[in-house]
Symmetry: C2
Subunit: 197 residues, 2 copies
DNA sequence: TGACCATTTTTACGCTGTAAGACAAGCTGT
DNA sequence: ACAGCTTGTCTTACAGCGTAAAAATGGTCA
């Protein structure tokens, strides 16, 4: 195992969160994962919040819109890519949803994305508004997509459908399946992009 | 102060969360708020998660769509009402975003909302899809709206605009102001509802 | 009085983030 | 070679957390 670094700490944190869930991501566990005592991490990172901010950074910096051709098209592609990345790291989604983009690297990534839109002719304000509308929507949708899994694993009773006939029918008709989510995401992002021309 | 009950525990929890933030909502503090030891709460609530689920229940049960006339209209009104309620309890928004609707009361409220749509002629699956699309969007948007406040209060440097020219310009042009959020919410929900006809 | 009961408190355990300081190893300048 | 500084790690400690288990309290009824 090579030398420690902020990057390696974040790598381990992301792996640990993906494997065991964010709840299990403690400084002691993270240290153990790296073969080191908890306090050692504080040499590379000011505190735990910085680790969480780092995880958000990892996700945010890993996707970017690539403008070319009709805006609704590449914006749609960006939305899909962002959603895919979020689904790849389900444990981190609540962090992305909850914490503002905070680290310099993450802010720089956002700036780069906005700059690309500005280069396409948008005003800076419009660029951020567009980016914001899409990311905000993707995060909201993905959060809703994730919840069920966590809920089911908590305890058996999937849902007391006895006195919830509408819900029971909807579930039987495919509500909450992967296909349902995909389809709804597709429809909603299309509507959103079409409406914000 | 009258007798304790689950309802009064949740009242106190909501008040405490609104006043001091969810981070400060601990069983001991909540007990103190009610003039009682922490462990006493466990007589009214199985564990802390149940308290958090209860907070979600409070929010979810406090708004409902009221179908009458063109769907896009009352759905828009529902979206606005939901957003207003979320903004009234900013500290709870991350919970609503993150935790599935879990308590019987909350599930019943959702069922009631869906039943109202079904009574309007929608298939149960469509009813939930529509509800889901709107609530999901509102939650996502409101989360993004809230983040900045929390971020600013953490420490002074609002943002290093030096090397983030696009962001700086956008901020100067009004990005992130209340008016900006209101306007974007309005535009996006309209687009969404128009596109899911 | 004594037994039952609902409610509350006490005590305790293992876990958390992290402040403060000790410690070891390597590099530098003399 | 020696001293001293830097870099990295570990030790110890503290206050707080959620909550299991058991004990204490107080009221109501037989």
């Amino acid at each position: 195992m090579g030398r420690l670094s902020r990057a390696r700490v974040l790598d381990a944190a992301l792996a640990l969160a993906d494997r065991d869930g964010i709840a299990k991501l403690s400084m002691r566990r993270l240290g153990a994962e790296l073969g080191v005592e908890a306090m050692t991490l504080y040499y590379y990172v000011p505190n735990k919040d910085a680790v969480l901010d780092g995880l958000v950074e990892r996700i945010v910096a890993s996707v970017a819109p690539r403008p070319s051709g009709p805006r609704a098209v590449w914006m749609g592609e960006f939305a899909h890519a962002f959603r895919a990345e979020l689904l790849r790291h389900p444990a981190v989604v609540p962090l992305v949803a909850t914490r503002p983009v905070a680290t310099p690297e993450a802010l720089a990534a956002v700036e780069r994305a906005a700059a690309a839109l500005v280069a396409e002719g948008l005003a800076p304000l419009r660029a951020f508004q567009l980016l914001n509308a899409v990311t905000t929507f993707v995060i909201g949708h993905t959060l809703a997509e994730l919840d069920p899994e966590g809920a089911r694993s908590r305890h058996e009773p999937p849902v007391a459908t006895a006195e919830l006939p509408c819900l029971a029918q909807a579930l039987a008709a495919g509500l909450g399946t992967r296909a349902d989510h995909d389809e709804r995401f597709e429809a909603a992002i299309k509507a959103l992009l079409a409406g914000i021309e």
